[in-house]
Symmetry: C2
Subunit: 203 residues, 2 copies
Amino acid sequence: MSAPESQIFIVDDDDAIRDALGWLFRSRGHAVRTWPSAEALLDSGEIAHCGCLVLDIRMDGMSGLELFDWLHEHGHTLPVIFLTGHGDVPMAVGAIKQGAFDFVEKPFNDNELVDRALAALAMHREQVSKRAALQAIEERIAQLTQREIEVMERVLAGQMNKVIASDLGVTMRTVEVHRARIFEKMGVRSAVELAQVLAGRKD
Amino acid sequence: MSAPESQIFIVDDDDAIRDALGWLFRSRGHAVRTWPSAEALLDSGEIAHCGCLVLDIRMDGMSGLELFDWLHEHGHTLPVIFLTGHGDVPMAVGAIKQGAFDFVEKPFNDNELVDRALAALAMHREQVSKRAALQAIEERIAQLTQREIEVMERVLAGQMNKVIASDLGVTMRTVEVHRARIFEKMGVRSAVELAQVLAGRKD
DNA sequence: GCGGCCATTGTGGAAATCCGCAACCGCAGG
DNA sequence: CCTGCGGTTGCGGATTTCCACAATGGCCGC
């Protein structure tokens, strides 16, 4: 609750490892929650509060890799650090290429693991704020009517009002009205600002 | 010469591997060049013609990883597929995180390696064209005078000519002239287009 | 010193954008 | 039936942008 999305989650079916990791992070002042299995974590519904997931690969039931895939498929994009005592190269390569934050073999170096986890948390905070910004834009776009979107597309294409007007088969005045509403709803004051805001995001 | 930047380069100090890989790719109709060492490749000055580098890690002299780092430091950004018979997990993870395209253990599957190499070539072509586009923009920006850049920054900030004028301590007319020149040099016809062109690139 | 590039300014007009005020129409919902 | 929303249009005026034509002054290299 103090740090809603900055908690470190640890999933490992080995009690000893779980306790050791919990102690490790807590001793350095970081909020940590531990889970004995992937299912336990998912069932808790707490996944949204996770800022960094330290995941054992070999577990009974759902494996770490399976949980990783599940999270991806369900849009939960958060940094995952895999922890394993039986990893091989192809597995590690696959995990990293699929976007895992790191892949660490046991036994691991305490300091390094903490550093990686903190780096992961920092990256997650970055992502969260960026996503928030992007979503704010999407919400504004969602407020636009269909007609306004048509006009906006053409404005962004650099077309003049008169062109847009004849293009859509309406008068210039109508385009002007739409244009004004677009600027208002999108929270900008000119076509240039609009272009800036909409830049840096793939449609 | 037929495909200047689409050649596959193979670097391995094992003659047998080199020949086998050369044969493998050529038998499938892909241009390949092989080198017995990292130094041989660098000395040849042919690196710019490479579209995909298949690199053995353990070699006499400069290792595959060292060559990889060297290329990075010298701005040669091209997809590298590491090939190794003695790789460990940390090495693989490190290589991938540093941007290696893939990390394959020997013995490898012929079809998979060819597929990966082709994917790497495709990615490289993408990168090359994108880089070319970005450089074209940079060259246009380079043509702008200092004053024009100052004006452009303000235009992109959505400021009106009158504001820019008082801001820079000149008359509106002067700003208009600069503005026109900017559009001309940048090859656009409006401020919106300018914003579009300059979007999607970090300053 | 001359020519070229750059920054600057003016005049004056055409074209485009921006806006408040007002209104009509069609359609969905209460 | 009345209301609200979205799309549409008109009028008229203030602002802003865009441009052609014309010109001055500074700096730099030949």
